[in-house]
Subunit: 389 residues, 2 copies
């Protein structure tokens, strides 16, 4: 099935070893005050912080900052950023870090001048249109996975209510530019690298496992899954392999810059479950996704058998010879599981920090989207969670 | 090898059965006078012309037009359009047709307010930066192949000098929006459909056959080649298969919207030879490309053996078992040739309208780019032409 779509992605990507130099060209396009948004000490330890500040100061910018953005950025941290933006009349929010930092930056961007009510309620709970001024966002990416560098996604967690809410904002909220230097990812731990690649793969699978037939988007998704698999194997042997790290970085961007969702109705149920898992455990997003994906796909494959057969043969090279479609499909999911083991993925929720008591709460608080091949029930979500506990 | 790149593509795509309705949303964004640019009678015969004019008039636009744009649009036709734009203060150039019509529209866009010298010399011969006002361009695509609907390419032929000159303009010259309704391509003849798909495939191969190793872009190219092959087979059996025609249409856009060239040094020698073939014979572009590709790739495969092996196994499913790399690579090119025969591609230059006497002139006037796996000589170009005469 081919669905009608509109596609518009105005983010400029500067990619490669020398891409930080492009900040010199981009900086003059924005106003006087830049707010740096970043996490903890990583960018100070590796020298990136100093380089970025030097370029901005040379361009005559006043630099203010919001530091300490955590994985699963909180509403409280976002509010802290809003205050800085308003007090300093910030004209560019420059996120330096991974997806959490960029998500937080976008949240600040749309919330800073939202006057009429609580921005979190308006934009992340009621999904209202953005009708106030937004502050331009840009990013320097240091960790791979979420694709936030070239899309409108922003996931913010309300710690008080344990609610992790995702929102996809329209194109004028996308980063104006994103700088992607694969070398910045060399120092990311193996655990985080693997988690990021599984986030990428999960984004691809969530879009792939929907609709009958196979359209061009499905072919493109298969190619990005194969590139992720091949290059993660290389990067696990040599984390400093530039070619492999650059491919993993670009795969992650393409996996969620809306291109790989075009003409697809999409599923996203695994992400919905993981969001609630993340709200309870603060586990690495990609690890949580991998854990949930295996029992989830074993639950739903029968409803989209044709696509799961394609997944097995096209992505994993499963031989169809002498097998029923059902056997081929299951062999594809087995291949995915074998790959998680090969890469040291943690697929036990217990190891990821969940307790048995959390499972019903996670299941009950998960939003059911009803897309994909099967409209799951809360009871089935609990079964999925128990299967990977 | 991963090369540094910058990527920015601001064209909005409206794709699908109901995409023409988006013209109503787009029209108010531009000024009062719209110049329609189109070919001969096709869009009047199928009713599209009347629908477009009705939408524009309802939006309060004054419509002027440039008709009779030919395949391989001429400098003279472009100058005719420039005159209309200046006389009517045109604020949007709306191309309705295939790549030739859109290429011509872009040519008019950059030339209309170029005051200082001959725009053709400035932009297509001396490749100077665009430093004058450009008139916004948009397109409604009715024929698949060139990708002009989402890029800066514009190929214009100087009939007097027999020089077909290609130029890639920067992002502010890209169409502001392009409307892609696969149903508009149903009435395109089988000959033109097949020619368009081979244009797509040639764009993909020209980008693919360069550099060592395989990066994400190579994986994506392989997926688009496979989608082109699979869907052309379906469309040849049933030209009204919406799914197949929509995939072929979107493949063509992706094949040349700069995404599939990222991080690749690229070749483009086949296009250089075909441009001169086209200047002499006015043959269908895709047919000329297919004819030249076969002897060209048999000439150069040894210099990029690893990639040609990948091409054979990943795109054509050639079994590697018991074969040397050279045998695998050649089997891939044989598979490409078999596919041209299967689809009724004309691969004889004589049948495409060339004479023996033209061959040296075509060879001598071909620009040698020196990229790709092998820096070809004029003598080798002549051998390639003779091999497919």
């Amino acid at each position: 099935m081919q669905l009608d779509f509109s596609y518009y992605n105005p983010t400029t990507i500067h990619f490669g070893k020398d891409s930080l130099a492009k900040l010199k060209e981009e900086a003059p396009k924005f106003g006087e005050t830049v707010m740096l948004v970043y996490g903890r000490n990583a960018i100070k330890a590796n020298g990136l912080y100093d380089k970025v500040v030097a370029i901005l100061e040379e361009a005559g910018k006043k630099v203010v900052e919001l530091s300490g953005v955590m994985p699963n950025p909180t509403l409280e941290k976002m509010r802290e950023g809003v205050k800085i933006v308003r007090e300093n009349n910030v004209s560019l929010i420059l996120a330096v870090g991974g997806g959490s930092v960029i998500d937080c930056a976008k949240g600040i961007s749309v919330s800073a001048y939202c006057e009429d009510q609580d921005p979190f309620v308006k934009y992340w709970c009621e999904f209202k249109d953005v009708d106030n001024e937004v502050v331009p966002v840009a990013s320097i990416l240091t960790m791979v996975g979420t694709g936030s560098e070239m899309n409108g996604g922003s996931v913010i967690t309300n710690e008080e209510t344990k609610y992790k809410a995702g929102r996809v904002f329209p194109a004028h909220v996308f980063p104006k530019f994103s700088i992607l230097n694969p070398e910045y990812t060399f120092t990311v731990s193996q655990y985080q690298m693997v988690s990021g690649v599984f986030d990428t793969m999960s984004h691809l699978m969530e879009q792939y496992f929907s609709d009958k037939g196979a359209n061009t988007t499905d072919y493109v998704i298969e190619s990005l899954l194969k590139s992720s698999i091949d290059n993660l194997r290389v990067a696990l042997k040599d984390p400093q392999d530039y070619e492999a790290r650059s491919n993993l970085m670009w795969n992650a961007t393409l996996a969620l810059n809306t291109l790989t969702g075009l003409s697809k109705s999409q599923d996203w149920q695994v992400h919905m479950i993981e969001h609630q898992l993340g709200a309870y455990t603060d586990c690495a997003h990609g690890m949580g996704l991998a854990a949930i994906s295996l029992p989830y796909y074993r639950l739903i494959y029968k409803f989209g058998l044709e696509k799961f057969v394609r997944f097995a043969t096209q992505v994993w090279g499963v031989s169809a010879q002498g097998k029923t479609d059902e056997e081929i499909a299951l062999a594809g999911i087995d291949a995915l599981e074998a790959f998680t083991k090969e890469c040291g993925i943690v697929t036990s929720l217990e190891e990821l920090g969940a307790t048995k008591e959390m499972l019903p709460k996670i299941a009950e608080s998960t939003i059911i989207l009803g897309g994909g091949y099967h409209a799951i029930t809360t009871q089935e979500i609990q079964q999925v969670l128990e299967a990977c506990f």
